[in-house]
């Protein structure tokens, strides 16, 4: 199934964006992002902690709807989903 993943800001610099992947049926949100982020260790470390769970400030959206990062392991990806992953920017 085809899924589109969009990274923003710092995540985008490290991992690119508008990534269309052929995801395995039944994959959960955290697994999907982990697989994509694994291609760049710096990008991976920006998003995930040492246990492979999302860092607590990471914002996840699925088809425009917010997903709490603690729910990501239970959030099954469906064909056509669009996932956005971004960090708050903090400068002023």
């Amino acid at each position: 199934m085809k899924v589109k993943v969009r990274f923003f800001a710092r995540f985008k610099e490290l991992l690119g964006t508008d990534i269309v992947v052929d995801a395995a049926t039944g994959i959960a949100l955290n697994g999907l992002i982990r697989d994509i982020a694994a291609k760049n260790s710096e990008g991976y470390d920006e998003i995930f902690d040492e246990n492979g769970t999302f860092k607590d400030f990471v914002i996840l959206m699925r088809n425009g709807k917010r997903i709490d990062s603690t729910d990501a392991p239970q959030t099954k990806i469906e064909d056509g989903d669009e996932i956005a992953v971004f960090p708050p920017v903090a400068g002023g």
Partner: protein, 248 residues
Amino acid sequence: MVSKRERERYKRQMALFGEEGQERLKRAHIAIAGAGGLGSPVAIYLAVAGIGTLTIVDNDMVEVSNLNRQILHSDRDIGKRKTASAEGKLRDLNPDISVRVIDTTIDATNAASLIGSADGIVDALDNFPTRYVLNDVAIMKNVPLFHGAVRGFYGQASTIIPHTSACLRCIFPKAPPKETVPVIGVTAGFIGMVQATEVIKFLTNRGELLTNRLLIWDGMQARAEEIAIKRNPSCESCGDITTATRKK
């Protein structure tokens, strides 16, 4: 009353919202938290638009490394307090408004009194912990918070109307790690203009505010996107029973 001189000064914008709109701007008091990259363009444009009273809070001195983006300050201001520099520039730009400056660092103990009776708060800060303090004050006082933040060529903005729209903590429950962010003046200018536009729309009761939406600007791609956001009923700051509302 808008004076004859003010009528001339604001003629081109009064064509947009009339004398009544200008009167609203004149009666308004806006607090700007920070006189740095975001605070500079916000303060300049709110001053020239004729916001009657601006309160600017900052505790830093002007450093040479500020000058790529903090356009309220000039080379000759290096070593001066940012508030003093800001006050002088804004008075030169528009002597018909009142500018109050406060040299202090905003924290949970002083934020409510610093904001005072302002009709709105502009978030021109550079860190999330203090942003959460302002968010709580905005909720407690029931005044809007105009959020903006930048990093490099990226920026984000949203307008928070307490008890109505998603608050800062609904959008960002956890602060990102502290870092010295790379930043270029044009990004702060772009996001600052979104914030200042929101302030003017709110005060003149015009247009559609950037509520329940997070605007994300990517300067490198020249692309602005928005993400729909919702209030979190169990939000630590604005949920049904919260610290901020209990302080009322």
